[in-house]
C-alpha cells in the first residue's frame, strides 16, 4: 500500500523501482518507519487535514455551491484539461530529450542536461512573465504569430504552454535513469533477430520505460494542477475561458472566503489523488506485465 502510494512522489522516483525490498534492509526498521510516519504526518497530513477541517465550517449546501458554480466548473475543465494536455506533450518530448541525453554525446551536452532542471529552479512567476513577454502580441515570437491568427498568450493556449514549461523536467528526470539502465545488448539482440527499428522500440525499449514514463506523466500532471505563478501572467484570467482553479481559490481568499477557498482546494486534492492512484495502478500493471514477459 505505502509503496504504491509513494511511487509518484519525487523522492521515490530516484529509488530503483523493481527491487524487492526485504524487511531488514534498514537497521532499526521500526524506528525508521515510525520516524517516516511522524514526518509525513507533520509535513503532509496535518496541513492537509487542516484544509479539510476548514471546509467543515460550511454546510453541505454551501460546500456544494462553492465547488459547483459555473465559473468554478469552467476552471476545473481548464485546469485538468490543460494539465493533461501539457503532461502528454511532456511525455512525448521529454522522452525525446531524455533519449538524446542518454544515447548521444555532443558538445555542450552537460549544459543541455543542466538546462532541463531550470524550470525546477526558477521562480515560476519569472517563467510566466518571460513566456508572456515572448508570446504576447508584441513579444519576440508573438509578433510573428499574431498576424497568422495564432494567439498563444492570454487564452487557454498560454496556460498549456506555461504548464508544459514547468512539467518538462519531471518526465526527463524520471525516464533518464531508466534509459541509462536499459542494456544496449537487448536492442542489439533484437536487431540481430531481425526486428526493425520500430519493432525494437515498441517491443523492447518501450515496455521497459513505460512505467517511468507513466510516473513522469503523473508527476508533471500533478504539478501542473497546482501551478499558479507561471500561469497567472499568461492566461488572461477571463472567467469561464481562461481562469485556472488556483486563481479561483486566490479570488475566494481575497473575499475572505477561507472556507470556500479550501472547499475548492479539497476538490482538487481529491481529484488529483484519485488520478494519481489510477496512474499508479496502471504503472503497477505495466511493471508486472513487462517483468513477466
Amino acid at each position: 500500500m505505502s509503496g504504491a502510494l509513494a511511487a509518484p512522489l519525487p523522492g521515490a522516483a530516484a529509488a530503483p523501482s523493481s527491487r524487492s525490498t526485504s524487511k531488514k534492509v534498514l537497521p532499526g526498521f521500526n524506528i525508521t518507519l515510525g520516524y517516516t510516519l511522524l514526518y509525513l504526518g507533520l509535513i503532509v497530513l496535518i496541513p492537509l487535514s487542516a484544509l479539510v477541517f476548514k471546509t467543515f465550517t460550511l454546510s453541505w449546501e454551501q460546500f456544494w455551491a462553492a465547488i459547483s458554480s459555473p465559473r468554478v466548473l469552467a476552471s476545473y475543465r481548464l485546469t485538468f484539461g490543460a494539465s493533461f494536455v501539457a503532461a502528454l506533450v511532456n511525455v512525448a518530448f521529454g522522452l525525446l530529450v531524455a533519449w538524446v541525453l542518454v544515447r548521444y554525446s555532443f558538445p555542450g551536452k552537460r549544459i543541455v542536461d543542466a538546462l532541463v532542471d531550470l524550470p525546477f529552479a526558477l521562480p515560476t512567476a519569472v517563467a510566466g512573465i518571460s513566456l508572456t513577454a515572448l508570446l504576447a502580441g508584441n513579444g519576440w515570437i508573438g509578433q510573428y504569430l499574431e498576424p497568422l491568427g495564432i494567439q498563444l498568450a492570454f487564452n487557454p493556449n498560454g496556460v498549456v504552454i506555461a504548464l508544459i514549461f514547468i512539467g518538462l523536467p519531471f518526465v526527463v528526470r524520471t525516464v533518464q535513469p531508466v534509459l541509462e539502465d536499459t542494456e544496449r545488448e537487448l536492442e542489439e539482440a533484437a536487431m540481430s533477430l531481425g526486428a526493425t527499428r520500430w519493432q525494437t522500440f515498441a517491443r523492447v525499449i518501450f515496455p521497459s520505460i513505460a512505467p517511468a514514463l507513466l510516473t513522469g506523466f503523473a508527476m508533471a500532471f500533478a504539478r501542473a494542477i497546482g501551478e499558479y505563478g507561471s500561469v497567472i501572467f499568461i492566461a488572461g484570467n477571463m472567467p469561464m475561458v481562461s481562469e485556472i482553479t488556483p486563481l479561483i481559490i486566490i479570488g475566494k481568499l481575497e473575499q475572505y472566503d477561507y472556507a470556500g477557498a479550501t472547499a475548492v482546494a479539497v476538490v482538487m486534492l481529491v481529484a488529483s489523488f484519485f488520478l494519481l492512484l489510477v496512474i499508479n495502478a496502471l504503472q503497477g500493471w505495466q511493471r508486472k506485465r513487462s517483468g513477466a514477459s
Partner: protein, 331 residues
Amino acid sequence: MNLKLRSLVGGVLLAASTLASAQQTLLNVSYDVAREFYKDINAAFVPYYKKQTGKDVKIDQAHGGSSAQARAVADGLDADVVTMNTTTDVEFLAERGVVAKDWAKRFAHNAAPTTSTMLFLVRNGNPKNIKDWQDLTRPDVKVVVVNPKTGGNGRYAYLAAWGYVKKNGGSDAQAQEFLSKLYKNVPVLARGGRDATTAFLQRNTGDVLITFESEVESVNREFGANRVDVVYPSISIVAENPVAVVERTVAKKGTADLAKAYLDFLYTPEGQEIAAKHSIRPRDAAVLKKYAETFKPVKLFTVQELFGSLSEAQKVHFNDGGQFDKIYTVK
C-alpha cells in the same frame, strides 16, 4: 502566498531588530503600490518625531496585495499600524478584533487621510479618442482592468462605471447592461494593479487602462513620461485609503502613542504634501489647491452614496454569484 511570506520575513526582521536595540520600532503593513509613498513618509516622520519627543524610532514597512496583507495581520503578523487601500480590509481586521471596532472614528475623514480616484490611461495622443466611460463600451475599444475578484483596484473601477450610469439617471438594470458591454471589451483581467499596468504598457494590450490616479505617477516614473495620456472621465469614485492602529500589537509592544503619532502625521500639511507628490489625493484643502495641476477636478461620488458601504457592494457585486459573475455566466 509570496506576499504573505514577504510580510512574514518582515515580521521576523522586525523581531530581530527589536531584540538588537531598545530603540522603538513600528511596522507599517501596507498595500503594494504605496511602497514609495511610505518610504518618503518614514523619512520625514523619523526626524519629526525626534523633534517632538526626543526619541529615535525606526519604521519598517511591509507591502503586498491589500487583502493578502490584511490576512497576514489577522493571522498574527505584528503590524503596529495598517494602511490599506480598501476599507473592507480594515473592516475585516475589526471583525477579528485586531483593530478597534470604531477604527473609522479614531481619525478624521473616516480614518482615511488620503484618497484616490479611478481614471483612464490611454496611449500617447489618445488615438481612439476616449473621453468618458461611454467610450469604453464602443466595439473598437479594448479595456485593460483588474479583476474585481482579486484586487481593490478592480472593485473601484467596476463601481465607478456603475456609478457613472446611476449618476446619469440610469437604473440598476441599465448599469448592469453597461457593465456587461464594458467587460465584453476586456481582453485580459489582470490579477492586481501592477499586473494591469504591465499588460497595458509592456505587452501593449488594449487601448485604455482603468486605474488609480496614484498609479499615474509610478507609470510615468517607470515607463517614462509621454508614453500615456491621462483621461479624466466626467465622473468617478472616491477611493479612500483607510488607516488604523493594530490594537493587538501596540498593547503588547507598548507602541500605542507612537502608532497614533505616525498616523496623525499623515494628516499634517507635511504628510499631506508628500501624498500629493505621489499623486495621492490629500484631504487638506490648501495642499489640494496647491497641486491643482496634478488633481484635475473630477465630479466625485462616494461609495456610501451609491452602495451603502464597500462591504455591501462586495456582497451584491463581487461575491460568488453576484452581479459581476453574472456578466460572464448569464448569456
